[in-house]
Symmetry: C2
Subunit: 373 residues, 2 copies
């Protein structure tokens, strides 16, 4: 997927055979390394252009990988003893995590062996390690995690960020999220000029706090530099809507919205299952409609959109769900591949650096001009 | 529904015939007064104990009401010329809204003609008017709007608050929300000792900002006075869960969560409809399962749980969805009736007044004792 007007990307890092190399943390997910290797085998089966560096306990991984013919010759194992658990605090991992598979997985991106890293582990630790080892892009204050949200748009997805990298965001951070999110939508979803909305409790201009109004002013002043359209304030009900491609919010609100959406979809799915099991007629009906219902289940299956992308760093990191099974890991790997292939990281860096400057100029101008109503 | 250990309520206000009187704002909803009167007729049909005072333009309302036999002798019309629109700012309405149907509807609760007011109008204006005309309960700093959330609990619903009365909440406000929400769950849902959770981005103690940690300390110190159990931090995915009966959060986050949940349920419903229309087999299957699917639709229909309740005021106000049709209005009236009948308002006042004092004591003690880990 290329985008005419974006700066030309450097060639993506490729392995010995010209393939895209993905660095994978085998450990730290709820389902253990077998699910991770299963997802890799699935991805390798479907995609001949993909190659892996896998990080974790060598003997264990060797036996898992050798049982998967599709990984033969396409997976290097990098030994790491330590495991970051879901309970570990980010600070501990930053100080003492050098021997962990997570650290090692990020290191492969840092030293340019791989284009992108994927982990199912502890989100806070993964973000902390990514920030200290890969460093923030010039012009970025707070990195963000972006997720894909099922939508009624033609591409099937909207982008929402931040969904939990940080619990706070100032107006300037929200502007950077807009720039990063627009760039992600352009390169990851192929939307030439994404429409960016700010999540709020109402669409009217007077809704929300001072920070959101300041962010609105910054976004309106940055649409040309950032090559997006500003769609105004949007509400929670607009997350799947066609009025917007990218939804920007702080990490606290975004995380609550993401999990509320997932929880609600699961609740409705469970209710549907109960309804179709109630009585002979319903069960017969469900049998007849089985093909369509299966399609529906796939359409709302959170595993299919598995993979939060860390934005704003010198390198791409994809966070898979902690509970991801092989299907979920495979989806995260597919997303990682698509971003690596598009040269997304290099485009993003150039875009944010130039737009951050423009945003600062706009902010300075706004301050001179006083508050607009 | 009575609750043994709560202070005995005063007798609910009742009309000439011993019925519960509900004050209804006929205007300001998206569907106009015909939908409101339709909902009233439906409620009156089902419930012989209900009686109305209806506020709005007399001639118009007279013709709508006289067309509904079930309202005969059970609906007094109170003339009001002015209408609060969705665009009106709360401040304007507070200053110049004396002639509006919304103002008049609240006035009937203020002067004890009715036990509860119901309006489909502008939420911000309704809250502002309710606060200045009914005043806050002793001990309450920020009133809140509570909504019912479909859940897997036996009663079918959890309570969430605040969903948009205010965009901010300090730790002390979150404690008051917990007390008010627990009282609502006890009197409205019949849960003797509700479990209260604080909405956060994770369940671990170290997640979230300083305010949430302070609120957690306050809640833990107030479980006995407030007669609830503290269920800890909960996530967006826990809103429909069985680990909790009441979810406490600030009005910004609560509003986003509420609308995200509604939007997601609608999206899944639309996808289901599409799936069941795809091909002959699916359509036939849907036909056979029609009864169960209809039940499912009702179970996730936001109109069925229509009605946010304003808590923390000297009087109960129920805010119906702006877009509510007759079915939605009828659901809001049913909720209003249930709360009025239970003597909820009088119990709440006593509970909050005593617990607010206890909360302040706990807070003072916490400050003396320093921060707990």
């Amino acid at each position: 997927m290329t985008s005419e007007n974006d700066p030309a990307p450097e060639a993506p890092k490729s392995g010995t055979s010209g393939r895209i190399v993905i660095s994978v943390d085998a450990m730290g997910g709820d389902q253990g390394p077998a699910a991770v290797v299963g997802g890799m085998a699935d991805a390798a089966d479907k995609n001949p252009e993909i190659e892996f560096i896998l990080h974790g306990p060598e003997t264990l991984l060797q036996s898992l990988v050798s049982a998967r013919p599709s990984l033969s010759g396409r997976c290097t194992i990098r030994h790491a003893d330590g495991i970051v658990t879901m309970e570990d605090k980010p600070g501990q991992v930053m100080r003492n995590g050098q021997d962990t598979s997570m650290w090692s997985a990020i290191e492969s991106v840092r030293n340019h062996e791989a284009t992108v890293a994927v982990s199912c582990g502890n989100t806070g630790a993964l973000m902390a390690l990514s920030v200290i080892r890969l460093r923030k892009l010039p012009g970025v204050n707070r990195p963000a995690i972006a997720c894909l949200w099922p939508s009624r748009n033609a591409g099937g997805f909207n982008v929402m960020l931040d969904v939990g990298a940080d619990i706070k965001a100032e107006a300037q951070d929200l502007l950077q999220y807009a720039l990063m999110g627009a760039s992600y939508a352009r390169n990851g979803l192929g939307i030439e000029r994404p429409r960016v909305g700010l999540l709020n409790v109402g669409t009217e201009d007077h809704k929300g706090g001072a920070e959101l109004k300041a962010a609105q002013d910054l976004l309106m002043a940055s649409t040309e530099t950032g090559r997006f359209d500003y769609a105004g304030f949007v509400e929670g009900s607009d997350l799947p809507s066609t009025k917007v491609d990218v939804i920007v919010t702080d990490g606290f609100t975004g995380n609550i919205a993401l999990k509320t959406g997932e929880g609600t979809a699961k609740l409705v799915g469970d209710f549907l299952k109960e309804a179709l099991n109630a009585g002979l007629m319903s069960r017969l009906g469900a049998l007849l409609a089985m093909g369509s219902l299966k399609q529906l289940r796939q359409r709302i299956d959170p595993r299919r959109v598995n993979g939060g992308v860390f934005l704003g760093l010198n390198g791409t990191v994809v966070k898979s769900h902690g509970s991801a099974d092989a299907t979920g890991v495979s989806a995260a790997l597919k997303l990682a591949f698509r971003l690596a292939k598009s040269g997304y990281q290099e485009r993003l860096a150039a875009r944010v650096a130039s737009a951050a400057q423009a945003g600062q100029d706009a902010a300075a101008k706004g301050e001179q001009g006083g508050n607009s109503e």
